[in-house]
């Protein structure tokens, strides 16, 4: 066990956990931020995607010890009122089915648009390819990313 100071969604939080604990479980079990989801635990599905200093990363593969000092943003902190252009576009296209993968999809999309505000179809497909949606909402995801890119 060791103490870590984490900057999550603009707030500094202290946790006392094993240094090998993936950030995913620190967020979910210790900080009660359960919007970030567990899907595979091996960086294959994207359900656990968060932003680390603005870049989309898989929190299931990021030990908490490596996250100290970085700016961590989770779905809960993506916008104050749930109105980030990506979230709005997701609502507009009524993307979710079960909804389980969508936090990860939204975080990946938001990071993509941060770096590339006007992605082509192919760039969207490449960026979003690491996020599995078992319900198959891929077309709506792509359409929502495009809508969000027009609003940014």
């Amino acid at each position: 066990m060791a103490q870590f100071n984490l900057n999550v969604n603009g707030k500094t939080q202290q946790v006392d956990v094993d240094p090998s604990t993936p950030l995913l479980w620190v967020l979910r079990d210790h900080l009660d931020l359960v919007g970030t989801k567990f899907g595979c635990g091996i960086a294959q599905c994207g359900a656990c995607t968060i932003h680390l200093n603005g870049t989309a990363v898989r929190s299931c593969q990021l030990p908490v010890s490596a996250a100290e000092g970085a700016q961590i943003t989770t779905i809960e902190g993506l916008s104050e009122n749930g109105d980030h252009p990506v979230q709005q576009a997701w609502m507009e296209h009524d993307v979710p089915q079960c909804g389980y993968c969508q936090a990860g999809q939204i975080m990946t999309a938001a990071a993509l648009l941060q770096q590339n505000p006007n992605p082509s179809d192919e760039e969207i497909e490449n960026a979003m390819n690491g996020n599995i949606c078992r319900c198959g909402t891929y077309l709506r995801i792509k359409a929502a990313v495009k809508t969000a890119s027009q609003k940014l």
Binding site: G82, C98, Y138
Partner: protein, 753 residues
Amino acid sequence: MTKVNTKLDRRSFLKVSALAGGGMMLSFSWLAGCKPTVEEELGLPKEWFELNSYIKIGENGAVTLYSPNPEFGSNVKTSMPMILAEELDTDWKNVWVEQADFYPERFDRQFTGGSQGIRMGWTPLRTAGATARAMLVAAAAQSWNVPANEITTSAGMLEHKGSGKKANYGEMASLAATLEVPEEVELKDINDFKIIGQSKKNVDGQKIVTGKPLFGIDHKVEGMKYAAIVHPPAFGMRLKSFDKSSVMGMSGIQDVFSINVFKDDYVQNFFDTTTFPEIIAIVGNSTWEVMQAKKNLVAEWEKAPETKIAMAGFGGNSMEVTVPAGLENSSSHKSRMAEFLKKPGTVVRKDGDPEGMFKKAAKVIERTYSAPFLAHNTMEPMNCFADVKGDRAVIYGPTQAPEFIMGTISSSLGIPRENIQINLARMGGGFGRRAYSHHMVEAALISQKIQAPVKMVYSREDDMSAGVYRPTYSATYRAALDENNNLLALHVKAGGIPESPLHANRFPAGALDNYLAESWDIPSNITIGAFRAPRSNFIAGAEQSFLDELAEEMGKDPIDFRLELLKRAETDPVGSNNDYDPKRYAGVLQLVKEKSNWSQAQSNIHRGVSAYFCHNSYVAEVVDTVIKDNKPVVESVYAAVDCGIVVNPDAAANMGEGAIVDGIGNAFFGELAFNNGAPTKTNFDTYRMIRQKESPKKIEVHFVESTENPTGLGEPLFPPVFAALANSLYKATGKRYYEQPFAPQLEMENLRM
């Protein structure tokens, strides 16, 4: 808030409402902290008045509608309340939807599966809405002293034109809640629908995109422990022993013990499908710590002998089911299934003289199709929260079928049903998998043992290797043709491990004078369960691929060929036991022909068509593929659907798109194989799922305009995709695809997958 589990007369919601009177809060809210929009718009009412199990109205006009069925992504949580709201005649923007708890005394059929939610809920929900409306009208009539039949309603307002009196529902709710429930109510004319048929956004949309705790896996209470499970590494194995000391010293670990899912004398029901009746549970302070301990646990496993299980049969009888011993392999599965090419099956339907026709045929075409086991792979792995203390239990988790697991939980815990509360979490996918809810029993037993609240979570590897798969299937189709290429007879012989996929009375039965259907199955200890459109999800692909090949052989357009057969089934059906409506079947083929511009073929686009009937609905699909950079790309998919009235069109299209993507993914990549009883794939690094890049570039879902009552939707778009894709790939590559998954064969054609 605690739930009041008063035993009430089961005679549906009508009786309950008369007793309930004012403002009984039923559901204890798991979602504290989420701000519902209606609260924001109208403010929380001071008091709620309950009109029946589904509907309560606040004095300020806010309406709470309880969505009875578990939500796994098919959006019933929006569409079922839409049906209530329609007949209640309220304004959708004043509606606040809550997930009902499992409460069979108040709600009928709280089950999500078989695409039956809307079909079976249609009349009860309409009646519930209309009854509440009638009681509000009666309250207004009494208050204003005017005849009830002169009062009209619209968007949550009551009006008496003659006297100029007006009120909103909230003003009449307290009186309405005390009135007699009318014995008869009138339902709206479907032409007067204002909500049904108009797309409404997912009522949980905002919560989903902001990451609110909605799922069982998100649940947490004070003092809750975390649990992981360890099950045998292979089908046909069981626990021999384990070494507690191998994990007990580890950080955060509280206890390790084994649990038996069933009591010895328990008679199982059809949904008591559990692969491993004895598993090891590890309890600790956090998910990560119990998952670490899992890796360290030293356990010994042994081969399980053949076992007999008592299973509840029809009419209160119980029968004995045998689970064979042995460690099975996919290679031996294949050879055992291939034996049925020569062996006869059980004849399940025979029309005319098929054998005679095959004898005199000028040409016989014979093709065999197969598909592997599939894992459901719901995005949210199996998990459950349970709090069992003394003789009371609260269970909260993902289940499609609370009724089917209630008896098991009660028996395994030794706690009567009345003392067990099951609350329904939003599910991160279901696809049939969560109709089998033994994760709930496991969590409950763990909690009972430690007498503390616990959340048990499967790893992805646990989830993928725990069984309840889509079975592996094989089907051989034969056609007898005369010298002029007329179809004389059709023969299908189909089976699987451990069940047959055949629906012998579906099309093309009824359209052929000479038809023979045979069925077989091979027992196994690999457990199976419903998987999106069970059986249909394979046999549709086989049948519709074969009809495509047959049409080509006969020199006919594949759509015209099917329409000809359907015409025959309509005008002069063979046999009387054909379970489809040929006209509606033909209707979707005609619609897809029009919408896909079938007649205007483009040379670089390769098209395949397929149509199927299941879950009371008719679907035809056209898939267009192109070869781009040496890669098959699904450009477009056109679907024509006849599922009666469509309640929520945009959400319905969403689900249709999802089923099509699911089908294309499984056709290309889906496969679970076994080596010495162990699944060869246990996570997404090896089990390939369809992703954004392989998804079709465009999907159009067209609904037949209909005034028929709604039928199934979650499943029917899935089965036809397999053949539409295979037939399109044939056009693209000149090769037929008989064996799923297709990707390895496409790679052999030097294509990139």
